[in-house]
Symmetry: C2
Subunit: 521 residues, 2 copies
C-alpha cells in the first residue's frame, strides 16, 4: 500500500570535489606508475622557470599556484584514483588571460589540462604528467539573465548549484542536475556533456546550450555566446566542444536556455520484485505522467544496503520491507492539484496491476530531499569500501540490468566476489537507458581490473550500447572508444583534433587511443 | 469574450514542393543570369557522356534522369526563384549507391547538390550551374521503431508527414512539424536544421537527432546510427551535419527520439491590439500553460488579410472583429480535463487583465485544423502576389516586430510600398524569437532587393539577431554569414569544410561567401 512519509530528517548529499588534505593526497599513487603503458609525449616540453615568470607577468600573483601543498588538490581527482605531477596551476579570471596563457603554452609546446570543479569520474580533469593545469575556479561571474526568454549567460567556472539558486530566485531553473552540483562547474558540465538526473525531461546539453565562448589552443577566442534559440548560419561549431573534454580548447563562457521552475514537485518511491517490473513501471510513467515526468531513477538492493549502512544506525527505511529494486519517480509541473492527481492515478494503477506492492509519496520538501538522498548517496556510499570501479554505460533498456547480473556471476566464478570485490551494484537513469555499474573492492588492483575489463566493454558493444553514457572518456577510457565508434568515425575525430590542436597540447593522453595502440578499432 | 467555434470546414494547407509543369518552370530565369556575380567554379569539371554511362552502371535505369522535361522540377525550387542547369539527377535507393556515386563525383571533380523534398526557401537544394543532383526521393524506408524507448530509424528520404503518421499509429509523434511536412524529407530537415512550429516544446534537432548515417564526399560511410539517448564517446560528429546544408556530405539515414503522442490537443486563437500584448500573452502562457504549451504563433493583420483573400468569398472569420495581431496557442498534454482547465484559466486571466478582447477555442479536430490553417496558409497566401521576398530572422522578442514596422516605413519612404511592393507582412514563432518577414511584390526586381538588402541584415545584426533563424544560408545568404558570425568562426568553418570536402564538390556556391567577396566580415 501507499503511505505518507512520516519521518523527515535525512542527511543531505555531502559535497563532491576538493577538500582532502595534502597529506592524504600523497597516499594516492601516481597515474604514471599505475598506468606504465602511458608514456610522456616527447613532443611536449618541460616547464621552465621562464614559463612561470611569464605566467606571473600575465596573471595576478594569487592566480599562479606553484606551492606543492596547494597543488595537490588539483593533481588528484576526487575519487583519489588518478594523480598527476603538475607543478603549476593557473587560475585566470578573464577570457583574455586564458587566451594569453593558452597561446603561450601552444607556442612553447606545453601540455595543458583544463579543470573545472574536479568532480570527473574518468580522470579527464587532472594531469597525467607535468601538464599545466588551467582552472576555471576564478571565472565565476554571471554575465546576464534575460527573464523574457529564460536565457542565462555566465563564466565557465560558475558552480551548477549557484546558477540554479540564482535562477530559483527568478522563477527559472538549470536544465541539468547531478550529484556533484555543489562543486561542478558549468564549463566542465558542458565540456563533458553531463547528463544527470533530469535529462529525460529537459534534454541534453546539445539542445539546451545556446552559445559558448571558447579559447582555441592558439589563443583565438571563438565568440559564439548567442542567446538565440534558432540560428542557422553555418556549422554549429559549439556542438564540437560539448563533450570534447578539454581536447580542443577551453570553454570560458556559457549561454543556456533555462526552463521555468516547476511550481509543483512530487516524488514517489516504490519497491519492486524484478527489473521487468521496473520497465513496466517506466512504460506506465511515460504514458500516465507524460509531460510532468521529470526523473525516473532505479537502484538495486545492494545499493540500498550500502546507503543504509552509510546512513548509520539512526536510519529508518521509508518502505515497510526491503525489495530487490527501488524506483524513484519525480514529477514537475505547473499545477500541484493536477500533478498530484496524475501521480496518484499512476500509483493506483501500479498497485492494481500488481506491478508494485509498496510505495511512499513525499509530503513536503524535506521528504522530497530525503527520498532523493537515498538515490544521491549511492556514489558516496560506494566509495566507503576503499576502492570503487565505476562504469557508466548506455544499453537498450530491456538488457540494462543483465550486465549487473552477468558481472556478479563472472566475479563470483573467478573467486573475487566476497573476497577483494565486495559488491556489484547497479543503479541509474532508466529513462535514458543509462546504467551505473559500480564494483566496490578493498583496493584498486590489476587482478580485479582484468576480471572486469575488457569484459564490461565487450558486453556493452555486443548489446549495441555505449561504453560511456555520460562520464566521458578521460584517461580511463581513452583506449576504449573503438568499442562504441567505428574506425572512420575515430579517423574524422582525429582529423578535427589535428586541425584545431595541431601540436597536441590540449589534455594530452586522454580521449584518443594512443597512436601506438589500436587494439579495439 | 471567448466563444466556441461554430463553423467547421476550412481549406487545408496545400502541398509544397514539386508539381509544376515543365512548361511553367521554363519561365523561371536561370540563377546564373539573375546572380551574374556567381561564377562557375573552374575547379569543377563538366559532365561527360562517360559520367552518365558510369552512373547507369551503378544505378537502375530509372534512377538516372537525363530527360530535360523530367529534370525541370529538380532544377527549379518550389518558390520558382532559383533555376539551375543540371543535366543529370540521380535517385539512389541505397547508402551504398550514394557512396559509389559520391566517390565517383569526388574523383571526377563534379559538383553535387543533395536534394530532399525541394521545399527549401533559400535556394540551397537546387543546382546553380550543372551540378549533379543526388535526390533522396527513392530512399524512403523506415528501418526500425523501438516502442520501449521511442526511437525511430529511417532512410533520409522519408517524408516528414509519413513518419508522423507511422508514429501516430504507435502512440508517438515526430518532434518537429512544419508547413512543408507533406513534401519535405527528414534528411533535408536534418541537413537544414529545420525548426518549425513546435521547437518551443520539443526542442531543436541538435537534441532530438540521436544518430545519423552520412556519406562523405570521398564515399566514406560515417555510420553513427545510434539509438542511445546518452553516448559520450568522442566528438559528437553528427552535430556538424545538422544544419550543414549538404556542404559536407549526404545524410542517408536518421535516428530520432520521438515523444509520446499527446492524448489531448487544444488550440485557441486570440486577437490583440499591439505587439506588447502579444508579448504579455506569451509570458502568461509560459507561466500558466508551462509544460503543456506546444506552440505559440503570431501573425499580423496584413497576413490575416492575405489569407482571407486567398480563402475566397466563402470564408468566415473565426473572431467577431479584426485585430492588428493574432496569436495561436496550442497545448498538448496527457489529460484533456487538466489541459482544458489550464487553458481556460489562462484565457480567463487574459480577458480579466484586458490583454485580449476576443478569442475562440477549437472544439474538435476539424476546428483545430481550421485554426491552424489560418497560420499555415500564410506562406502560400503570400506567394500569390507574384513574388515574395522572404526573410527569416531571430531577434530578441521585445524587438521582434519593430523590424516589420521599420521595413514598412522604409519601403514607403522610397516610394515602393503600394507600387511594386504590395505588403510587408510579419508572422512567426514568438516562443523562439523567430520572425518571418515576407515582402510581397509584383515581381522579383533588383530595385526592390536593393531597398530591402542589406538593410534587413544590418538591422538584424544591430539587434544581436541571426539573419537565418531556421531557413539556412543556401544561395540566398551565402554572402551574408558575416552578419551573424565572427571572422574566426567563419575561418574555422572553412577549415572544416576544406578538411571534409577538399575538392569543394558538395553543394558549391552555397553557404560560404565566395572567396573573392568578404564584404561583410
Amino acid at each position: 500500500m501507499f503511505h505518507r512519509r512520516a519521518s523527515a530528517a535525512r542527511p543531505m548529499l555531502a559535497a563532491y570535489g576538493r577538500g582532502y588534505t595534502s597529506d592524504s593526497s600523497r597516499t594516492v599513487a601516481y597515474t604514471k606508475d599505475k598506468y606504465p603503458g602511458i608514456e610522456r609525449s616527447t613532443a611536449l616540453n618541460q616547464l621552465s622557470s621562464e614559463d612561470i615568470t611569464f605566467f606571473k607577468s600575465i596573471l595576478p600573483p594569487t592566480s599562479v599556484i606553484t606551492d606543492e601543498d596547494d597543488l595537490s588538490s588539483y593533481n588528484v581527482d576526487w575519487m583519489r584514483k588518478y594523480r598527476g605531477q603538475s607543478s603549476v596551476v593557473l587560475l585566470p579570471k578573464t577570457t583574455e588571460q586564458v587566451a594569453k596563457a593558452l597561446a603561450y603554452c601552444n607556442e612553447r609546446r606545453l601540455g595543458v589540462v583544463p579543470q573545472g570543479g574536479n568532480t570527473g569520474l574518468v580522470g579527464g580533469g587532472v594531469p597525467v604528467f607535468d601538464e599545466v593545469v588551467i582552472s576555471t575556479q576564478h571565472m565565476n561571474g554571471i554575465r546576464s539573465f534575460d527573464a523574457a526568454s529564460g536565457t542565462i549567460t555566465c563564466d565557465a567556472g560558475c558552480i551548477l548549484e549557484v546558477l540554479d539558486n540564482y535562477l530559483a530566485e527568478r522563477g527559472y531553473m538549470m536544465p541539468l542536475d547531478l550529484g556533484a552540483k555543489g562543486s561542478c562547474h558549468i564549463g566542465g558540465n558542458v565540456a563533458t556533456n553531463a547528463g544527470g538526473l533530469r535529462l529525460l525531461r529537459y534534454g541534453s546539453l546539445h539542445g539546451t546550450v545556446l552559445g559558448l565562448e571558447t579559447v582555441l589552443p592558439d589563443g583565438t577566442v571563438l565568440d559564439n555566446m548567442s542567446t538565440l534559440r534558432k540560428d542557422n548560419t553555418g556549422y554549429d561549431l559549439k556542438q564540437l566542444f560539448i563533450g570534447s573534454e578539454g581536447t580542443l580548447g577551453i570553454i570560458t563562457g556559457v549561454s543556456m536556455l533555462t526552463p521555468k521552475r516547476a511550481k509543483s514537485t512530487n516524488v514517489a518511491l516504490v519497491g519492486l520484485e524484478s527489473f521487468e517490473k521496473v520497465q513496466e513501471t517506466f512504460h506506465m510513467a511515460k504514458d500516465m505522467l507524460s509531460e510532468i515526468l521529470s526523473a525516473f531513477e532505479f537502484w538495486d538492493h545492494k545499493a540500498a544496503g550500502l546507503v543504509r549502512a552509510h546512513h548509520g544506525v539512526g536510519h529508518k527505511d521509508p518502505l515497510t520491507s526491503q525489495y530487490p529494486f527501488y524506483v524513484l519517480v519525480e514529477t514537475q509541473g505547473s499545477d500541484s492539484e493536477h500533478d498530484m492527481a496524475k501521480l496518484n492515478g499512476f500509483l493506483e494503477k501500479l498497485l492494481e496491476s500488481s506491478i508494485v506492492d509498496d510505495g511512499v509519496v513525499a509530503q513536503d520538501d524535506t521528504q522530497i530531499k530525503s527520498l532523493w538522498s537515498l538515490r544521491e548517496l549511492i556514489p558516496e556510499a560506494c566509495s566507503k569500501a576503499g576502492a570503487v570501479y565505476k562504469y557508466d554505460v548506455s544499453i537498450p533498456v530491456p538488457k540494462l540490468y543483465t550486465l549487473v547480473e552477468d558481472m556478479r556471476e563472472r566475479l563470483a566464478a573467478v573467486g573475487l566476489l566476497g573476497q577483494q570485490v565486495e559488491e556489484v551494484i547497479g543503479y541509474g537513469h532508466v529513462g535514458d537507458g543509462n546504467l551505473h555499474l559500480n564494483i566496490t573492492a578493498t583496493s584498486y588492483d590489476s587482478k580485479v581490473t582484468q576480471a572486469i575489463e575488457p569484459y564490461v566493454y565487450e558486453w556493452t558493444a555486443k548489446h549495441a550500447g555505449s561504453i560511456s553514457a555520460e562520464h566521458g572518456l578521460g584517461l580511463m577510457k581513452a583506449e576504449k572508444i573503438g568499442y562504441s565508434k567505428s574506425p572512420s568515425m575515430i579517423h574524422l575525430m582525429r582529423q578535427i583534433k589535428q586541425l584545431i590542436d595541431p601540436h597536441g597540447i590540449m589534455n594530452p593522453y586522454k580521449y584518443f587511443p594512443s597512436t601506438h595502440q589500436h587494439q579495439h578499432q
